[in-house]
Symmetry: C2
Subunit: 480 residues, 2 copies
């Protein structure tokens, strides 16, 4: 890790966007690539991604999916086969026209998503109902040309997993669509400490080519929504376009029902904005590259003894499965190191000085609460996993509290516009495009989800007063 900058970042309250951009760069999570809109994920940011990947991949495999890898380059003509899909993605495509020193007969699209190429392969692999369900996942990079790029949130290239499955029936494909959204919700809540609202997208907000899109929406600390993952039921749209057919048990040829679902490196942006504060990142322990940092303190004459104890403690912590680092940099003050690791969101910091050694204690500083406490040195390692677990829970509870405080249930359009200026609004909605557009024009907010886990309720549209089209209130917010 290169020597960081000890300056702070612009406060969140002053300019949230500047806070975010500065933090991503200063915490060395990512850097801008040479081509506009591209991103370099630096080791500290990539390690967060690897930890998230492992948690997600384990759950994807445990539910019967297998990983595979499909080509990056897809014939351009494939994108025209599904009408909505081509309309949705055409403006964002990067196209290879020359290769091996020659112009290609047919241009190749750099995948923006892989329904097309996977649909083609599924049609080759699936013959009979015995081949179903086919449950595939891919970890890959995808390219979507972005006009207003932002690190992690909207970059020309990003990393993700994309699940693609084929089923015999509408019912089975629906169960799969919901299973994927449940996996995502579990990862968001239990791993990223990020409360999410799960529900259906309205028609206008669906994925290009989907019959149903289930989304997870999290609240950032500026009150905006961030989509943490989506799961699509594609009906037989792609099966029709790519000829994915199977012979049923009774010998009838039928179209398969397919799904696709993805979670991406965008989640890192979500974690930054869901938990960070004016001093920098706050990372959930389960995704923290370093869960505990040990800062040895002392004058040159004392430091060798302190360092020996620090190193021994680090070994004890590693033995109980804690990711720990001893910051033994010479020529950097304890204050510099405190700021350095606070900026980088390390959950817990252990300070050890000569007086601590004499008293057989250490000082433990909590990045979330800001509190410090003294601990007997012999009990540090044995209690650390529990402390990290408490930290993880407290971080989730804080995010949930923040969201609840910034969520308003209302039937007044005036209250509604005020609410979406600083968070989520739950309102009745007729589903009409004109009302959706008026809200967008007035507030820039859009319907985020028709949530699953709320009470059923009828009512009148917040804009026009017509009867609500949905079984519950709809969540509106400004979104990333």
């Amino acid at each position: 890790m290169t020597r960081g900058n000890d300056r702070g970042v612009t406060p969140q309250s002053e300019d949230f966007s500047a806070w975010y951009n500065e933090l991503v760069l200063r915490a060395e999570l990512a850097d801008r690539g040479p081509v506009r809109g591209t991103m370099v994920i630096r080791p500290y940011g990539y390690r967060i991604w690897e930890l998230l990947q492992r948690e997600l991949d384990d759950r994807i495999k445990a539910t019967g999916h297998e990983n595979a890898y499909f080509p990056l380059l897809i014939p351009q003509s494939y994108f025209t086969r599904e009408a909505e899909h081509v309309e949705g993605f055409a403006p964002e495509l990067a196209v290879v026209t020359h290769a091996g020193g020659e112009e290609l007969d047919e241009p190749l699209v750099v995948r923006p998503t892989s329904e097309a190429v996977i649909g083609e392969m599924f049609s080759r692999w699936i013959d009979s109902y015995r081949d179903l369900p086919l449950l595939i996942n891919q970890w890959a990079n995808v390219v979507r040309w972005e006009l207003r790029p932002r690190l992690f949130l909207r970059t020309t290239e990003f990393l993700w997993q994309e699940g693609h499955t084929a089923h015999a029936t509408h019912e089975e494909a629906t169960v799969e669509t919901l299973l994927a959204s449940e996996i995502y919700a579990e990862v968001a809540r239990d791993v990223a400490a990020m409360p999410v609202l799960v529900g259906d997208k309205t028609e206008r907000e669906r994925f290009a080519g989907a019959q149903r899109t289930v989304s997870l929406e999290a609240m950032m600390r500026d009150g905006r929504a961030l989509q943490a993952g989506t799961s699509h039921y594609l009906g037989t749209n792609f099966a029709t376009a790519f000829n994915i057919k199977f012979t049923s048990a009774t010998g009838v040829e039928e179209l398969a029902h397919t799904t696709s679902w993805g979670m991406s490196s965008r989640m890192i942006g979500g974690i930054i904005m869901c938990h960070g504060d004016d001093r920098g990142l706050i990372l959930p322990p389960k995704l923290a590259p370093i869960e505990v940092v040990i800062v040895p303190i002392g004058k040159p004459a004392d430091i060798a003894a302190v360092l020996e104890v620090a190193t021994d403690l680090a070994t004890q912590l590693r033995d109980v499965g804690v990711r720990v680092k001893v910051d033994d940099r010479e020529g950097a003050s304890p204050g510099f190191k405190f700021n350095y690791w606070e900026l980088r969101g390390v959950p817990l910091r252990i300070e050890i000085g000569p007086r601590d050694l004499a008293a057989n204690v250490v000082t433990l500083a909590n990045r979330l609460s800001g509190e410090k406490e003294q601990l007997g040195i012999d009990s540090v390692a044995s209690g650390m996993r529990d402390r990290l677990s408490e930290f993880q829970d407290a971080l989730y509870e804080r995010a949930k509290g923040f969201r609840d405080e910034h969520t308003v249930t209302t039937d007044s359009y005036e209250e509604f516009t005020a609410a979406v200026a600083q968070g989520f609004a739950l309102a009745h909605f007729c589903g009409d495009e004109a009302c959706e557009q008026k809200i967008k024009d007035d507030t820039t907010a859009t319907p985020r989800v028709i949530p699953f886990d709320v009470v059923a309720e009828t009512g009148n549209c917040i804009v026009c007063g017509s009867a609500s089209m949905f079984p519950t209130r709809v969540v509106f917010a400004r979104a990333y």
Copy 2:
């Protein structure tokens, strides 16, 4: 997994190339993608890659390297900065000329390797000697336009890791170059059960832009060599091209010395050709998606009891960390299942029938030796890790024995040409381009490595009789 084909494959001895192509497809390791030269890595093949990835990634991290991710798309002009690099890669580049619906001002190259973009970022990140060494690794896809594609061996796109490091001195960069080749040799030998010769490449066979290329060469069962990984010392070539400079401890501005090194999904092709036989794959247990398959045998009246024991045994095996599968498919005969899993290279097969149950035994079949033995059912799980370890060792020894039998040390050009027709030849070589070309014209063989671990020996060139240029004999072979 879809229902496979129970036909065999063309025997190796009859047509090695047909054997390979059929096996890759029939064992469902990979499939051809829609664009010529592209490949779909199917779940069974991808799982081998994941297991290899984990082994390699653990070793890369344990030696102090950190993973990061750099952009896929690189400005075309970057490739012209290092003269040899552009010459080497220009014919293989795929180029994006249009994106977001418009023609780009500057075409973008889809990375064939990442020295250029990583060099650019290193120059931004490195200021002082304190920033060195910078030890980075990336897992990524790369694209090189191939005119004669072959699944896993030469595909338009492949998966790999590429290490990129920067150092203060020639000596440190040389140590790093050798460290990477040692990691690769360990993974090849201990994980893939693949004996490798490690040594330097001759000048003509070096990576485009390298001052030194260390290569690992393995022998396939047709006697040809396959490069299992390479590690390059790039001198200050890329530091000059991308302005990677640092201020030394004494305040002098110096160029960094860089290295790069890669191992790719090509290794899967190597594993197939190093170990496979006429019945199909033979996988080293450490890379086998399924290490043990249990085939329950019995008439409909007996099968429920057999299956219960099989399932219980599978649980016991999983508990001791064995990757195991019970093949409980109905309507498929034991013979079909035996062939199916032999084709797929599962190291050990357990057969359980009603008579075995009565006698409290199982039959264990070894994919490598073809031998069967009876085991007391209670001892199966406890002894399995040792048996798999023995299998792993035996597979390595067989491959090493095969290589030794097909390696000839000679000073006669007649013997030399006969030797490279079926394996490796160790001969003295003057290093002259004309002699290298004559050997290539006569035999299609090329110098593979100047090996490290052989006795120093002077002598006269196998072609022209001039004094050898190298401290040892050089390994020649036809190569993939």
